[in-house]
Symmetry: D2
Subunit: 333 residues, 4 copies
């Protein structure tokens, strides 16, 4: 069997992670081209023996040897690149979101369907071993019928105001992961959303028109509810917990800590802070995600997260904004 030939567009933080995983930990695959505007990103790829380096996406589009392409460039370029790659018949791995605009995202998905190529949207958290285990256990009926889901997702610190401005807002930038996770765990669709949000972390965020704190309540087809709590700042580190309650029990994901050291003294027992950086917290998820993409290509079965999943998370984030603005629950078809 020939190995899958891969191109990567964008050699930023996430592009580098995928390149390292593909080059040293995944079999039957070869990264043959990297496209990045700066020389520095290209140089990084050298370490892993990538042969084609360019600042021009055409070296990928026009290279018939390349089977699949990872879009790891800035969010506002995803849709355009995806449409061009679909046109060139490449399988696509697209970092989230497909686009901030639902309309544009739908165009991408339509094009992908028209050209009959695979497109996977990179909700990496689905591949985290903890969340994946929850999904399996729920699916196997280990806790019976789900009644409540609770997701807590807090960043260690807010991004820059510049980042906030182009982020699409909290619901599309942060909550979107949790909305996808809620759908993933529940295994059915949201019927109604009620969202509240406020600016409690940094008034500069509020001045951009965005929020930094949110509580979102979802109802699902199966009758269960889910609550998502978000904050742009958690002083004790990256907080990524999930708890699902059912008729036969409860499953919880707890936060991994920086170390497993506990100190006991006259004030009590003290354990470490949470892993603080999403790249550390979700390290394994990125590897598993990429393995899953490659495995689907090799075995020619559907990618595990479709463009449709990408669309649904955007629809939910949009509905969250409407709900917050109008202070009422919003129904979803």
């Amino acid at each position: 069997m020939d190995s899958i030939k891969i191109g990567i567009i964008g050699m930023g933080r996430i592009g580098k992670i995928h390149l390292e995983n593909l080059s040293t930990r995944i079999d039957w695959v070869e990264v043959v081209a990297v496209v990045n505007p700066s020389k520095k990103g290209q140089d990084y790829a050298l370490k892993f023996g990538v042969k084609i380096m360019s600042d021009d996406i055409n070296v990928i589009l026009e290279n018939s040897e390349i089977d699949a392409v990872l879009i790891c460039s800035p969010s506002d370029t995803h849709a355009e690149y995806a449409i061009r790659l679909a046109g060139a018949g490449k399988a696509i791995f697209c970092e989230k979101p497909i686009d901030l605009s639902l309309k544009k995202a739908k165009e991408v998905v339509a094009k992908v369907k028209e050209k009959n190529v695979s497109m996977m949207v990179a909700f990496n958290r689905r591949f985290d071993p903890d969340f994946a285990k929850i999904k399996r256990e729920v699916g196997n009926g280990k806790i019976g019928n789900i009644q409540n889901l609770h997701i807590i997702s807090r960043d260690p610190a807010p991004p820059t105001i510049d980042y906030i401005r182009q982020s699409g807002g909290l619901f599309k930038d942060m909550t979107i992961h949790d909305l996808d996770m809620a759908r993933f765990i529940m295994g059915c669709e949201v019927t109604e959303i009620f969202a509240t949000g406020s600016c409690m972390v940094d008034s500069a965020i509020g001045e951009t028109g965005d929020i930094d704190t949110a509580t979102v309540l979802l109802r699902f087809e199966n009758g269960a509810t889910a609550v998502i709590e978000n904050s742009r700042k958690s002083v004790y580190g990256y907080d990524q917990r999930l708890e699902v309650f059912g008729s036969k029990g409860m499953l919880q994901v707890k936060n991994p800590l920086m170390t497993n050291v506990t100190k006991s003294d006259a004030q009590g027992s003290h354990s470490d802070v949470n892993l603080n950086f999403f790249v550390d917290r979700y390290k394994v998820s990125y590897l598993n995600e990429m393995q899953s993409f490659v495995k689907a290509l090799i075995n020619e079965y559907p990618v595990p997260i479709s463009g449709e999943d990408g669309i649904k998370s955007i629809v939910l984030a949009d509905a969250a904004y409407t709900s917050m603005r109008e202070n009422r629950p919003i129904k979803l078809e």
Copy 2:
């Protein structure tokens, strides 16, 4: 100093707990009379040297020696007894709720004010050492400004359908504790409530018109939100957790377990179920609550939970019903 003389109306489960605490663990107090319809309850009081035993409340109302009276009889008698006791000038300790009807509860509070007697409403959980510590830490600014509060409150098993029928419904029977706890921790008032409820535990509960599962979202004057999750049935035991997130940290109350034994085997590590019975879980809270009532009487300062607090919890429970019925957030003045 003379000791406080106390009468108790009702020698059911909760009356017995208060009697034992007052008799053997609290100083400067004496239980002199117990009123209970059955002889069996009266006999229990004998063990603790109570001298006056009757099935007639007048032995208390007409006994000028008695300073304070505990109302531990069924909920639908609370209002009537409270009004008569206020009329007789007795200090009152009233189990929750004052009454299922807001109107009647307000009459009680008005009468208590008119007669200028003390009335404490028994939200015992405020005196639980864990929750009380959270309140202290929040009050001392240990976690900065509160942004989110999360209360999980699940019973180990639903009560009988007969109990359900006369309970006033989930919001007034179960959630009312959590509504009071949320106000207690936040230290300010609720401005808006959005409640969802459903019947997921037992369809027989649904047939009475009640719900057994609820998720309630509250907004507070300080801009923070709170989420309450309730269920009538948790297979892993009584689940009473609270988590409050602020700008400087997070505080959590975890469930006490039946034992502190952990077993590790080829399947993992296994710890015990939660304490299963509210009397065990809140054992210390009942003692602390009663000590707090007696201390207020002795020192002649206000009781720690007023009739007004009792009213506010009923108002919130009523608003939760309206919100659920009309599927919209309800504002509170």
Copy 3:
């Protein structure tokens, strides 16, 4: 059935605990007499309706109505009282140790046997729900064959030097509990002991000739080893842990904490100190122990901890001293 009539000698801390448990929580039993040198201790007994109060043990010895007697007086009086009570045909509940001297303890046990009375030695920790559960699980083969046992037993703070002087030394005062626990959990006898001890907490303890820190290694008939670690001072509170490792798994007893509150902040997560006082830590064990004694009397079956058990713990403590002094393992027959 008539209730068991009980006398208590000594109304110190432990005598009071037993009196309260017998009077308010145990059925079919009545405390009829309390002997205590001071009036204050006698007054305490009044609260629980005890009728005979005296500073003279003869009110108990000569009262034919009394079935059983608790010896809760200072350690150096245990042997004498036990012998006299056996002579009077009373069932005996004797606080540990029977006597600091093995010879005298053996005389007591011989007398008890001669007079054919019951004598229970009060190793209360066997009745702690956590340790009792470990014993049950081990007995049921839940962890297979035991290979290692580990007991950590540390006091929150050393007693007074006066107490140290009359205590019999660390091995007879503290370690004796752990030696009994090790025999209890293992379900077989010690074959060899190797003990080390030193003075690391307070040099004033060393000046009395005693140690305050010890590590003891035991070998058992079943081939397993046990390690006991003792210290007179643990800054994080009373430390009472046990861990037993077997071919099919491991069982652990963890310390109960003052509260179940955890705070997370920029330094990590902080939980409370251990319960700090042996009376709180072993509260339930005292009740269960007394219930077990009463139950044995009522049902006329052997008491759960015999005089022989008391002897064996003294033999082991004596052997620990020899081992430490001679720096060699000591065999036991």
Copy 4:
């Protein structure tokens, strides 16, 4: 600055780990040669761009460009290779043990000293973030004076009988890590050792003359004691814990688990098994260890674990055998 040029002898499990770390995660270093008897191991090195591949150690010895060499070949070859490498003036990184024989290990250390080359002995656990944090906290006086150290070290399953036969026995194969760790944490030397051992896991191990279960008690210059518990088989996974108790507190290393998922059901709460494989458990330690070696070479300061450390662990393991055989404590000079 030129990068350090490195050769690796042995491309087994541990050689591969070092190669991957050196190639992709450590700066200023280049692996230029790999020596391995089989072609397969050599092929693995190709992935990381290694240029010289051979089954002959002379390609390293005779290559003047190579600054440092990792000895990752079978234990019985360590001494010979180390002596030849020292002769060739190479800095050496030697997997533990230097040799099973103390005499031969001393010859190696003598040669290294004579030739004035660096030699680091690979006790990787010192570089584990958890154990390293304990060392730092102890060193900073965070828990005051150390009084007790407790190390539990159990393998998930015994190795093959063939491996056992050539391992040097439990004390030299397993306990040696814990003996080094005890010296590392204490920061002073062992003065006396008392060791017990038995065969409780598999009688086939006993038939080779080896043990599979051990409890070892150490005394240190600072007056503290340490206990090491070893077993060749732990059904709940790789068990690597450490607890150090001092005058101001206690530090503990807990086991990392396979996942951070907990399930609660009617039987209690269930968390995952321990990480099961030493390569996963100590993954980060291997990286940190290698970084530390490279950093010492670059900065020309002493390597963090010397040949002398390697000698001392062998001396202690030998003394453990003597103690077990003669059933007495053995003094060390």
